[in-house]
């Protein structure tokens, strides 16, 4: 246990150092990757329950626009408050849509999540007087506890802040996975009927998970908004959600770090693919996806583990420490 915590701290310190050393553009990508990684993590969590969310854009946009409205209408620019509001927005939307979602599985669940995110998209586009329509909203540079960072340090500041938030979320997810709820959710994927026969409410378990995923997604959206400086309705479009699903598959869902690692890889991959093969980067993405589905369904992480453990097959990284 102690070794793990120690390892975790080293990792955070390492990431912090790395971020500060990287050139501005790379650091920006890393920041974005971490923020978006939280949404990928949400996809992964739901996949554990056997559900695919094709509507993460819903929480992403909710969190992002929450920051936008807070800045524009309430004059709130504090980063801490911003993410709290973002997480709250995500949580709120999850609370609203959760009861309906928790009743469905498989394709229906996926389609419902997609539909909800598209509804939000429609609202964001149509209510242009409030939301700025397709132009979106501008997000002013955030402040940290009242301090405004000078421009050259803003990127680093945001990076460290994002890193901190992500670390906290990762810690919480670790706890969640080792908790009864975490196991129940995985049990639901295996055998839903038996879970009910244990006296547990499957829909309640899923609802709580959706709440968690929503809050996390809103947090990610808020962080992303603050780094990019701009929000627009596309955040809620289904193709954005599709990307999160793709990254979840890319990274693998066998480990808490896998989605984050996948997100980082993807962010850099996408930027360079766009730079070098601008007209075929989508195709490239598609081919990579097919390759993973075909040869490494556990994602890149499973490949890494395969190599690291010498072909033992099963990965038990979720299941240690009982």
């Amino acid at each position: 246990m102690k070794l793990r915590r120690f390892g975790g701290l080293i990792l955070i310190a390492g990431m912090a150092g790395l971020g500060l050393l990287l050139p501005g553009w790379s650091r920006f990508l890393l920041t974005l990757a971490l923020a978006r990684g939280l949404l990928v993590l949400g996809v992964a969590l739901l996949m554990q329950a056997g559900l695919v969310s094709f509507g993460q854009g819903l929480f992403f946009a909710a969190g992002a626009y929450a920051v936008g409205f807070a800045a524009r209408d309430l004059g709130i620019r504090d980063a801490g408050l911003g993410v709290a509001l973002g997480a709250g927005a995500g949580l709120g939307i999850a609370a609203l849509t959760g009861p309906l979602l928790a009743r469905y599985r498989g394709i229906f669940f996926a389609m419902l999540t997609l539909a909800f995110s598209m509804i939000l998209y429609g609202i964001l586009v149509k209510a242009y007087r409030i939301t700025g329509g397709t132009d979106g909203l501008r997000i002013p540079p955030p402040t940290f506890l009242g301090w405004s960072l000078p421009e050259e340090h803003l990127g680093s500041g945001l990076y460290l802040f994002t890193l901190a938030c992500t670390a906290v979320m990762v810690f919480l997810i670790f706890r969640y996975l080792r908790s009864p709820l975490g196991y129940t959710v995985r049990a639901i994927r295996d055998n839903e009927v038996r879970v009910e026969y244990l006296g547990l409410s499957v829909s309640r378990a899923l609802y709580i998970t959706v709440l968690l995923v929503g809050a996390m997604g809103g947090l990610g959206g808020a962080l992303s908004a603050m780094s990019v400086g701009h929000v627009d309705p596309n955040l809620a479009y289904w193709t954005t959600s599709g990307e999160f699903v793709f990254v979840a598959l890319l990274g693998g869902t066998g480990n808490v770090f896998a989605p984050l690692a996948g997100s980082i890889v993807f962010e850099f991959l996408r930027t360079y693919a766009y730079k070098y093969i601008p007209y075929t980067w989508q195709m490239g993405l598609g081919l990579v996806m097919l390759a993973i589905v075909g040869f490494a369904p556990g994602g890149l992480w499973s490949l890494y583990e395969l190599i690291a453990r010498g072909m033992s097959g099963w990965t038990w990284s979720w299941k240690r420490g009982v």
Binding site: M47, V52, L100, R103, Y104, G106, I107, F108, A110, M111, L112, L114, A115, M118, I119, G122, I123, V125, K126, V193, W238, T239, G242, V245, F246, L249, Y279, T280, W281, Q282, M283, L285, G286, L287, M289, L290, V293, G294, P297
Partner: protein, 298 residues
């Protein structure tokens, strides 16, 4: 009174379009149990192919009314080529696998097709409006209405009718339905599953391409068509019940009419009409209007 006629007609026309784009999707899901995220891309392929064919056609100065056959031909070509290619080349490998991976595989296909279309046709819009213009304006209760819309209606009815005849009247059609209802028993009874799968997917592809081909003269054919279509098609399929062709038809009708009503009465809600209908239907009938429930045994 005229407005009611317009609302009805608008609704029917939109419903026709919705039926064309969703019938293939529900058929494919029903038989192959795969939700084809690339369905919209097949639609777009149909549109691009149709645009090219039409432009070529009128370049040759052929009989204008025959351009509709050209549209049909384009759709059939796309379906007959892309269908088997995709089914044998990709789908065959993912049958029976975890639905998540199937979803992702078809999503990958969508991405690939998107760029493929960009490579072949470029990013500039195509205008193939001649077949549209040929049918002129019809007076509907005194109000001008494009004649082409009725062609679309006709195509949908024809497609629906053919499907109906195919399903009820032909042996293969009944095999397809049997597979929708019970794939295991069908296989056990000697149905040539691979052949029926190939046929079904090709049929679904043709339907999608048909939708795209006949829509092409009404719009500017640009990249990104697939993205919008997919969401709408899915919603209709969910409303009607996965795998049910009658469901698609009724669902399309329902959404078409509701949307038309909104467009004319509460325009702000037009975008949401389809999702509202979906939410309402699911609340009352969780599996869609004609959805088939799956029995779970313990």
């Amino acid at each position: 009174m005229e407005t009611a006629l317009i609302i009805l007609t608008d609704g029917l026309v939109y419903a026709s379009w919705l039926f064309l784009i969703s019938a293939g999707l529900t058929l494919i899901y029903g038989v192959l149990r795969i939700l084809n995220l690339a369905h919209g891309s097949l639609y777009a392929l149909g549109a691009y192919a149709a645009a090219s064919v039409v432009l070529l056609y009128f370049d040759r100065g052929l009989w204008p009314m025959g351009s509709y056959l050209a549209l049909l031909g384009a759709a059939l070509l796309v379906g007959a080529v892309a269908g088997p290619l995709i089914e044998r080349g990709l789908l065959r490998w993912i049958y029976g696998r975890d639905p998540v991976y199937q979803l992702l595989a078809t999503y990958a296909l969508f991405l690939i097709l998107e760029d493929l279309m960009k490579l072949v046709w470029g990013v500039n819009p195509y205008y193939a409006y001649k077949p549209y213009g040929l049918l002129g304006i019809i007076r509907l209760g005194g109000i001008p209405y494009p004649g082409y819309s009725f062609l679309l209606l006709g195509v949908a009815l024809l497609a629906g009718g053919s499907l109906y005849f195919f399903i009820r009247g032909t042996r293969i059609g009944r095999l397809v339905v049997a597979m929708i209802h019970d794939p295991e028993i069908s296989a056990a009874m000697g149905v040539n599953v691979p052949r029926v799968s190939l046929l079904t997917f090709t049929l679904g592809a043709v339907l999608a391409a048909l939708g795209g081909a006949f829509t092409a003269p009404m719009i500017s054919v640009v990249p990104g068509l697939s993205v919008e279509v997919i969401v709408l098609a899915f919603a209709v399929v969910v409303i009607g019940g996965l795998g049910s062709l009658e469901g698609s038809a009724v669902g399309a009708l329902l959404v078409g009419l509701v949307r038309s009503l909104m467009v004319h009465r509460i325009p702000e809600l037009e975008l949401f009409a389809i999702y509202l209908v979906m939410a309402m239907v699911l609340l009352l009938r969780p599996h869609g209007l004609f959805g088939m429930e799956e029995v779970r045994r313990v």
